[in-house]
């Protein structure tokens, strides 16, 4: 088994990841000020910047969805039960005895089953919950006589509860995500991969998949 530097995260993917990370951290920071937890920017600015960052995030996510659909990368996130138990076992037991990762990371399958499940949940449930409740929050109209009754939401509380719930779930994800970054081959290998795009992967596969990874690498190279 040899090891090889593989180009695993493409340019847009990395840009999208870091931009999204920045925006979500900023949204959390301003969001909890709006929520009344602390005072830093001042309420008015916290609201203004929070709304601005929200629009930027939506814009970014629209691009990301387009990218995932056109490149076919969306298939990476289809959840699977295969190997899920082994992956869980690894985090609970194997990791302490320096056992090998149960899932092989390849360009075609760069997510382990737990990641698939988590990111799928993030993309299908938490982010939409956050964005939909956030948009309702922005466009919430207090009950007025001029409004259309059918689309009047009678209380902002209903919207706010879901928005807060999404925020709490995102924080939980963020904490665990930050920690699991350190569980790669070395403590920083995952972080380095997301920064540079390259990761040292085990090269024990048949020639075919190796060629494929070379292909994708060269195809992105051509873009440059």
């Amino acid at each position: 088994m040899s090891k090889k530097q593989v180009y695993i995260y493409q340019g847009f993917e990395r840009f999208w990841h870091w931009m999204q990370a920045l925006l979500i951290i900023f949204l959390a920071f301003t969001g909890f000020e709006v929520h009344g937890e602390y005072t830093f920017l001042g309420f008015q600015y916290a609201v203004q910047y929070h709304n601005l960052a929200a629009y930027m995030l939506i814009f970014l996510i629209v691009f990301a969805i387009f990218w995932h659909l056109t490149t076919g990368e969306w298939k990476q996130y289809i959840p699977t039960l295969e190997n899920l138990k082994a992956q869980l076992n690894y985090y609970i037991f194997g990791i302490f005895s320096n056992a090998p990762h149960p899932t092989k990371k390849t360009v075609l399958s760069k997510l382990n089953p737990m990641q698939k499940l988590t990111y799928f949940g993030l993309k299908i449930l938490i982010i939409p919950l956050s964005i939909i409740s956030g948009l309702l929050y922005i466009f919430y109209r207090y009950p007025t006589k001029h409004g259309i009754d059918a689309i009047n939401i009678n209380s902002l509380e209903f919207v706010a509860v879901f928005h807060t719930l999404a925020a709490i779930l995102l924080i939980l994800f963020f904490i665990v995500h930050l920690y699991l970054i350190t569980t790669g081959d070395t403590i920083i290998s995952n972080l380095k991969a997301m920064l540079t795009g390259f990761e040292e992967l085990e090269d024990d596969n048949d020639v075919q998949s190796q060629e494929k990874s070379d292909d994708s690498q060269s195809s992105t190279k051509k873009l440059d």
Partner: protein, 525 residues
């Protein structure tokens, strides 16, 4: 290379969007400028009254002046006599009561309580001449006092307790020749002193408004736009717009900020959206009673104490009465933060003879209606005036005492200091029963605060309402607002989950470090 360009394009797109949203939208930057321009042009009088021959004939009584006025203004007297300045009442529809002629004759307040039996004293502010103790309304148009509103020399004045007649020494010819559109002084001479002294009642209308600074009132500031009362309180055939909810029940003929400033006066949408549910005054009048203190509490139960058989008074450090034998104890406050309530423009009032079901709670004399769910309601600032005032515990009715009389022995409290006789006479004059028992109960009145608008830079900051602690609208609990409200149980669960996650991370990494240490030792050996 292409990738870098793509990233650059994408980033610059984001920046463009950011700038677009951040930039303040100045669709109509001249809205306020236009208003300032409009009101900086002062109206010139259309006629010179001093040239009219009829005003040069020697006047020996104020009625002669009125007779002269109506020779030219031949429809005006009728208009005046239809208005509430003349009639002391408004025709109002009140839910549950039907049509009520609401006025000082039938509504009680918690200041000097009511007018019945006190007419000679009260007539100082009535715009008629010769009002007598029966309080009957005159139909003779010569009894209209034109000058109290239209004298612009600032010399005309009504005499104390003379049934509305002016001070005897005035040069009526000179005054009559110099009449014009009412100024702040004309309105203020009555409206600033309601309740028996400066700023007793409103809190936002007081003698500091005669020549206010911009800090006191941005509109009326004599060094600023110098608006007069009638610039906003527009008048059509002597019917004046705007009214106070101590004596109004319907949402009609109200004066609003929007009539000049429109419903979308701000540059930012988020502030304009607030105006759906928040009245302009709520943010733009951060405090009232800016010039002089206003009366917040009146305790009638202590009235009547005498020193050596004589009435006396006590004052606080600001020179406000804290005790008067004729009225009891007072509390005054200056620079008061308003209370906030929902208000849809309708109100219900305690009328003389109404029976109070629960006398243990603070009883509201003018209940202002409104709620979050009501789409006509907005949050408005109010002054809440509390009082302890006499009531009949057997009949469960508020008492209308006779307070003023010219002589001792007529039963007036202000002369005889005897609650029993004052109540007997007052209730009899009001045709109401009296059991012979007097108690004191707590009452409240709501006074919407509409004046003393501050410069925009001093308006209430977002955080003063959108905050967990001491929110200005902490008392309004029928809706959710960001920053003030949160869902405690959800947050408790969230906090614990986050703590657990962090603990999990620490435990997991500790075991990892320990296990790796052990492994490394193992490989070394």
């Amino acid at each position: 290379m292409k990738k870098i360009i793509l990233i650059l394009i994408f980033s610059s797109l984001l920046v463009v969007i950011a700038i677009g949203i951040l930039a303040q939208k100045d669709y109509e930057p001249t809205k306020l400028m236009k208003l300032k321009e409009k009101y900086s042009k002062k109206e010139e009088p259309q006629v010179d009254h001093s040239k009219f021959a009829i005003l040069q004939e020697k006047f020996s009584s104020p009625q002669q002046v009125t007779a002269a006025c109506v020779t030219c203004h031949n429809l005006t007297a009728q208009h005046v006599m239809e208005g509430n300045h003349w009639n002391w009442e408004r025709e109002e529809y009140v839910k549950g009561r039907g049509i009520v002629y609401l006025g000082k004759k039938n509504a009680l307040n918690n200041f000097c309580i009511g007018t019945h039996g006190n007419e000679l004293s009260c007539a100082k502010c009535h715009i008629g001449y010769g009002m007598d103790i029966t309080g009957k309304i005159f139909i003779d148009k010569k009894n209209i006092d034109c000058l109290i509103c239209h004298d612009v020399t600032e010399t005309y004045a009504k005499a104390q307790e003379k049934a509305g007649f002016p001070v005897a020494t005035l040069d009526l010819n000179k005054i009559a020749q110099d009449v014009g559109k009412p100024k702040r002084t004309n309105c203020g001479v009555c409206h600033f002193y309601g309740g028996g002294g400066n700023n007793v009642k409103h809190g936002d209308l007081e003698m500091a408004m005669f020549e206010p600074s911009k800090d006191i009132d941005i509109h009326m500031a004599s060094d600023g736009m110098n608006l007069q009362c009638v610039d906003c309180h527009l008048t059509n055939q002597h019917s004046i717009s705007g009214k106070v909810y101590s004596l109004s029940s319907m949402s009609l003929n109200r004066n609003t900020c929007e009539q000049c400033h429109t419903e979308t006066p701000h540059d930012t949408n988020i502030l304009n959206e607030h105006s759906i549910k928040v009245a302009c005054q709520s943010c733009h009048i951060p405090v009232y009673a800016k010039g002089n203190a206003t009366k917040m509490y009146w305790d009638w139960s202590t009235a009547g104490k005498l020193k050596d058989g004589e009435p006396f008074s006590e004052e606080d450090s600001l020179g406000n009465h804290t005790y008067l034998s004729i009225k009891g104890n007072f509390t005054w406050e200056k620079n008061v933060k308003p209370d906030y309530i929902w208000f849809n423009g309708t109100a219900s009032h305690y009328l003389k003879g109404d029976i109070i079901q629960d006398t243990s709670k603070i009883f509201v004399l003018n209940q202002l209606h409104g709620s979050y769910a009501d789409d006509e309601s907005k949050i408005i600032p109010v002054k809440i005036h509390l009082a302890k005032q006499p009531y009949d515990p057997v009949n469960r009715m508020l008492i209308q005492p006779k307070l003023f009389a010219e002589n001792k022995g007529e039963g007036a409290f202000w002369k005889d200091f005897d609650w029993l006789s004052a109540t007997e006479v007052g209730m009899k004059e009001s045709n109401l029963p009296f059991s012979g028992k007097i108690s004191f109960m707590e009452t409240a009145m709501y006074w919407p605060v509409n004046h003393m608008v501050s410069p925009a830079s001093e308006s209430v900051d977002c955080i003063e309402c959108h905050t967990r602690d001491n929110s200005r609208i902490a008392g309004l609990n029928d809706f959710y607002i960001p920053g003030r409200d949160h869902y405690a149980s959800l947050e408790a669960i969230g906090k614990w989950l986050i703590i657990l996650a962090i603990l999990g991370v620490f435990v997991h990494s500790a075991i990892r470090i320990y296990a790796y240490g052990k492994l490394r030792k193992g490989t070394k050996q």
